[in-house]
């Protein structure tokens, strides 16, 4: 009984996603019939062909930007979390608090300032600008989750490495990082998803279509082809694929990220 109710709730909540998948497989002529087609039995892949043709470049840009964001985020967050959790760097609580508060600055405020800075540095329409801007969505979360994990690693492990003559950096690389593997994967996954999903920085820091990542690609695509819902929805499905893949491949890390608190704005 309760399972049935639970399934119904889930069906209602996931309906928009099913409806997107459905429309992505139906020819446009069928989408404007008075009676909705509930199952894409006589489906077509035209939408996907159109989507890949017009959005392929945007998908690659998104991939590149998301991977770059992961790299920048880890480069800042891993040493910081290690210094705070294991080495007891001074003002640790202040830094964590600053990151917590920084997360709350409205994105539009940051976008305004990033646009001015990127303009001065000739970085508008470059992936670098997007990578740096997107990393601000990820660094606080990454430091918090890595710090929470590394605090739980007994100091003796690192001290043993130090007795063997390892420097702090060496201890991080060969002892702490391998032990923290799961936390690092979780932080990377979420950084990837945040950067992949970013729309605000993408739409403000790219003015040329070639430079735009997939979120802006879809946005402009609806603007230009509002009647072609088949292709629009196919693009949406393709843009969701990384999420779907990550959910399947790395489900337990996603769960770990979600339970560690408020992770998405």
């Amino acid at each position: 009984m309760k399972t049935a109710l639970g399934v119904s709730i889930l069906a209602v909540m996931l309906f928009p996603l099913y409806w997107m998948l459905n429309a992505s497989l139906l020819p446009s002529t069928e989408l404007i019939q008075p009676e909705p087609t509930w199952l894409p039995i006589h489906g077509t892949l035209d939408g996907y062909r159109n989507a890949l043709q017009s959005q392929g470049g945007h998908l690659l840009t998104s991939l590149y930007v998301a991977l770059g964001t992961v790299a920048v985020t880890l480069a800042v967050a891993v040493p910081a979390a290690y210094g705070l959790a294991q080495l007891g760097a001074p003002l640790g609580r202040t830094l964590l608090f600053a990151l917590l508060v920084a997360q709350m600055i409205p994105g539009i405020v940051m976008a305004n300032a990033f646009y001015v800075a990127a303009n001065e540095l000739y970085l508008i329409n470059t992936p670098i600008a997007l990578i740096l801007a997107d990393s601000t969505l990820c660094v606080p979360f990454a430091v918090l989750i890595l710090h929470a994990f590394m605090r739980g690693i007994p100091a003796e492990i690192r001290e043993a490495a130090a007795l063997d003559g390892a420097s702090s950096l060496r201890a991080l690389r060969s002892v702490i990082l391998p032990v923290s593997r799961n936390a690092v994967i979780t932080a990377s996954l979420f950084s990837f998803l945040f950067a992949w999903a970013d729309f605000l920085y993408a739409v403000t820091l790219t003015t040329r279509d070639e430079a735009a990542p997939i979120t802006v690609g879809i946005y402009r695509f609806i603007g230009a082809h509002i009647s072609d819902w088949n292709s629009v929805m196919a693009t949406g499905v393709i843009a969701s694929l990384p999420v779907a893949v990550l959910l399947v491949v790395a489900q337990r890390y996603v769960a770990a990220g979600i339970t560690s608190g408020s992770v998405k704005d």
Partner: protein
């Protein structure tokens, strides 16, 4: 100090990527910063003129009202439905855990994607919502959900509720798990019914978590951008414009960066007020 070498990059990062943009935006709010400023490098200081002009903007009053309605409506419904779902999923039943984690899927998708799906559902002529309402004879003609000035704010609020339910459910579910089962047993022994147990045990003990969820929800809801942009772009005729989309419109569509920055600063001010209230409430609860 070697320890400092590890955290110094993070401090530098905070300074360059959060403090500096924030300071830049505060400064721009006092400058006549337009598109020519980018070429000439000149943006004269004009005191509070940007703020005066923004307050006098015909769209401003409506935007503030929209922001309050959008935020209050989103928070109330997200929290109410999220809490109901958390209570529901707290009882153990077959597949409960799997269903609960699948509920999170909408939350992980890019908002541009789910917003686009909703735009298709809410489409006036061929959207499935209107089709269904028409077939059930609940309405006599298609409802212009996104195209009418009366309905657009309601439509974007409801979609934003859909986006926020999983977040509320996860955090509240965690809060419910932390309430000791003995309390419910004791209340039951004292003859408390289900509703009384919910009111006298669940709600009071959930209060700290409630404060967190509502404050974070408020700060996040003020920032909502993607959903509104994809669904209505703040229109028609500013009927679904909030302070965030208004700031974007001023800066990046009208290229009045000084005005956009001023509205952004108002948002920061609101967020700061609530964040302080939140930290105070946090300190009072032991």
């Amino acid at each position: 100090m070697r320890k400092l070498a590890f955290v110094a990059p993070a401090w530098l990062y905070v300074a360059v990527f959060y403090l500096y943009p924030l300071a830049t935006n505060v400064r721009m709010g006092f400058q006549d910063f337009t598109v020519t400023s980018f070429y000439t490098g000149v943006a004269p200081f004009v005191g509070l003129r940007n703020y005066r002009e923004v307050f006098r903007d015909p769209a401003f009053a409506g935007t503030v009202t929209n922001t309050v309605l959008f935020t209050a409506g989103s928070l109330l419904l997200q929290f109410g439905i999220g809490l109901a779902l958390a209570v529901f999923f707290k009882r153990n039943f077959p597949l409960g855990g799997a269903l609960r984690s699948l509920l999170l899927v909408p939350w992980l998708l890019p908002l541009v994607v789910s917003g686009t799906a909703w735009r298709w559902i809410l489409e006036t002529d061929s959207g499935v919502l209107n089709r269904t309402l028409l077939n059930l004879h609940l309405v006599s003609e298609p409802v212009p959900w996104l195209a009418s000035t009366d309905l657009s704010l309601t439509a974007v609020t409801l979609v934003n509720v859909w986006v926020g339910i999983p977040f509320n459910m996860v955090i509240l579910y965690g809060g419910l798990q932390a309430i000791p089962a003995e309390l419910y047993e004791a209340a039951q022994l004292d003859g408390a019914g289900a509703w009384q147990r919910f009111r006298r045990v669940t709600l009071p003990l959930l209060r700290p978590v409630t404060t967190v969820v509502l404050t974070l929800g408020l700060i996040y809801t003020l920032k909502v951008f993607d959903v509104i942009m994809v669904l209505t772009q703040g229109g028609p005729a500013d009927s679904s414009q909030t302070l965030t989309t208004f700031s974007y419109d001023l800066s990046f569509q009208q290229l009045a960066f000084g005005h956009g920055a001023a509205v952004g600063n108002l948002l920061v001010l609101v967020a700061v007020v609530f964040a302080i209230g939140y930290l105070r409430a946090e300190r009072r609860t032991p």
